[in-house]
């Protein structure tokens, strides 16, 4: 009991000290150089920002890790609506229809997805859940009662 009390007392103190001693510079709100298209971050960056190369084969798989670690860096180029295009509470136009003017972009659900969703849902249903597990699933109920 005494130990728990000490831990409860020490934790806020430790956090307060860490907070008081923090002195990092915030990431820039706006990317210093204008960027167009799908950027290859390695053209300028040689540190860990280079890993965020949007042209890398695994950028899509890794983008959630970057969003956790460096959301302010994402926001230096992307508006909030960029996330909402896919991670929406409620959406009726799939991203690949909304951006047919950008066929070079990686966008989910191209073509006739009504047929294909049964196959993708069998292959890896976990990949659907981030966008459709608890959000954006009103259309699912049309068939999935």
């Amino acid at each position: 009991m005494k130990n728990k009390f000490l831990i409860l007392l020490m934790m806020p103190l430790l956090v307060s000290v860490l907070f008081a001693c923090a002195n990092t510079n915030s990431a820039p709100r706006v990317h210093p150089e204008a960027v167009t298209g799908t950027p290859n971050c390695t053209e300028c960056h040689t540190d860990s920002w280079a890993a965020m190369n949007h042209q890398a084969v695994d950028f899509f798989e890794k983008h959630s890790i970057f969003a956790s670690n460096a959301r302010r860096a994402c926001a230096s180029c992307h508006a909030e609506s960029f996330c909402a295009d896919c991670h929406a509470n409620k959406e009726e136009i799939k991203p690949s229809d909304k951006y047919k003017d950008s066929p070079q972009r990686w966008l989910p659900h191209r073509g006739d997805y009504l047929s294909q969703h049964r196959i993708d849902g069998r292959i890896n249903p976990a990949s659907c859940v981030k966008c459709h597990g608890r959000q954006n699933n009103e259309r699912c109920v049309t068939c999935h009662k």
Partner: protein, 447 residues
């Protein structure tokens, strides 16, 4: 007596009202500050879409959508900033009803944010998207993040989860909170511990998840990312997913990934029956299934304009038959002139449904103010589905840029699939940017 759906609807309305008040109050404060500010920026856009299609039962659908998004930011001379972000859409059916409601819409996000000049401090209030470790959530609530000393950083959020619960019996929770504590050295590594908890009606345990995430970048040529998440209600690991990326040459990148998903723990308390676990006669997903994936991909860019890539992924199940997905793609880009690509993939699985080939060919050409695009996507099944072996969609589109702010785009898509013999769909898009310029030479990309 009111139904669960009605209760939820009332709850959502009150949440929206609360957000509206917060946003209005915050806007008043912000609009009173520009005199003191170093920089005052308004960025916004309006995208109007008219979709056209005829359904199998001969209904003519002409839903008209308006997507309105804007942000106002006030930057102080010390580098801090206060901003307001709003994004919403609305739809009106000009022809037959496209859904149960002739008019519908959604507030996608609406929050006020304070970003500190030091310590990456962020304070958000309102409807927002939170990405902190195990949390990838849209909430109506508060979020705070700050760097601490010794490479530590902390984030916390609290609010009401924004979830869709279309059948009213799969609860998405009434209250959610969580956070992430990370420690790292910039440019070298970051390790995070995160947790979230969501309670439903009568304090029922909807979700309790904990996670570990890491990002290790020991060398310029090596990058390792990954996460593990644990469900403490079911007492099981939901997911492990790790990726290692290597760039032995400037022109070559290689990536390998490994993941494991335990269905019973991962699909716990989703709000759609499409992913609900089998329980008696209901549900689709087997709780006894576990999926392991292992993949490798490589991309080679012999010139700045050309990328050649190949990828392979193996899907291994404890219950269902395994599958392999492999293929390649070639992309060619001339900046501000031409983008073209070709990809070919093959799914080779244990069942008929999992044996098909996938092809895609696209091109986008810019001719002054005119953009032209063509896109063909075809899936060729080894064994026909509903008598159809090839499911394809062919899209032709054209756009005209009147000026930097106004652009019109139209496309026509013809498709054949196991569900539709011949389907023709059209879409007209009018995009207008209020102001896409940063006041002091900043950068924009795929806004």
């Amino acid at each position: 007596m009111i139904s669960h759906q009605e209760e939820r609807s009332g709850y959502e309305q009150s949440s929206l009202l609360r957000i509206a008040w917060v946003v209005l109050a915050a806007s008043s404060v912000m609009l009173s500050k520009p005199v003191m500010a170093a920089e005052y920026t308004v960025v916004g856009d309006s995208n109007t879409y008219l979709r056209m299609k005829t359904t199998v039962d001969k209904n003519d659908l002409y839903p008209l959508y308006e997507y309105l998004r804007f942000s106002v930011s006030v930057a102080e001379k010390d580098g801090s900033a206060t901003s307001l972000h709003l994004g919403a859409w609305g739809r009106a059916d000009l022809g037959d009803k496209s859904t149960n409601d002739r008019v519908d819409g959604d507030l996608q996000y609406g929050f006020i944010s304070y970003q500190g000049a030091k310590n990456n401090l962020v304070l958000n209030a309102g409807r927002q998207f939170v990405t902190e470790g195990v949390a990838t959530e849209r909430i109506d609530g508060l979020y705070v993040r700050n760097d601490l000393a010794a490479g530590f950083a902390a984030a916390a959020f609290i609010g009401s989860p924004v979830v869709t619960d279309p059948i009213g019996r799969l609860s998405g929770g009434e209250f959610i909170y969580g956070g992430r504590l990370s420690q790292g050295k910039p440019g070298l590594y970051s390790v995070g511990l995160s947790a979230l908890k969501s309670n439903g009606e009568n304090d029922s345990r909807d979700r309790e998840e904990q996670g570990l995430d890491l990002w290790v970048h020991p060398l310029q040529q090596l990058d390792i990312t990954g996460r593990s998440s644990y469900n403490s209600i079911t007492s099981g690991w939901m997911e492990h997913a790790y990726t290692i990326s290597v760039a032995p040459l400037d022109t070559l990148t290689i990536s390998a990934d490994l993941s494991r998903v335990n269905y019973e723990d991962y699909f716990f308390n989703v709000t759609t029956s499409a992913f609900s676990l089998i329980n008696g006669t209901s549900g689709i997903i087997s709780p006894d299934e576990e999926l392991t994936t292992a993949g490798i991909a490589a991309a080679w860019s012999p010139t700045k304009n050309v990328t050649v890539a190949a990828d392979y992924k193996n899907y291994s199940y404890d219950l269902a038959g395994d599958a392999d997905y492999f293929g390649g793609r070639v992309a060619f880009v001339l900046p501000d002139s031409l983008s073209a690509g070709l990809s070919v993939h093959r799914m080779e699985g244990a069942t008929d449904r999992l044996r098909y080939s996938e092809y895609r060919l696209y091109a986008l050409k810019k001719l002054g103010a005119v953009d032209l695009a063509a896109d063909l996507f075809n899936v060729s099944y080894d064994k026909s589905i509903n008598g159809v072996k090839d499911s394809f969609a062919l899209t032709g589109s054209a756009g005209y840029r009147f000026n930097e702010k106004l652009r019109v785009w139209a496309d026509l898509e013809y498709s054949q699939s196991p569900d539709f013999d011949n389907e023709l769909r059209g879409l007209v898009k009018v995009a207008y940017a209020f102001d896409m310029k940063r006041s002091e030479g900043g950068g924009n990309s795929e806004k």
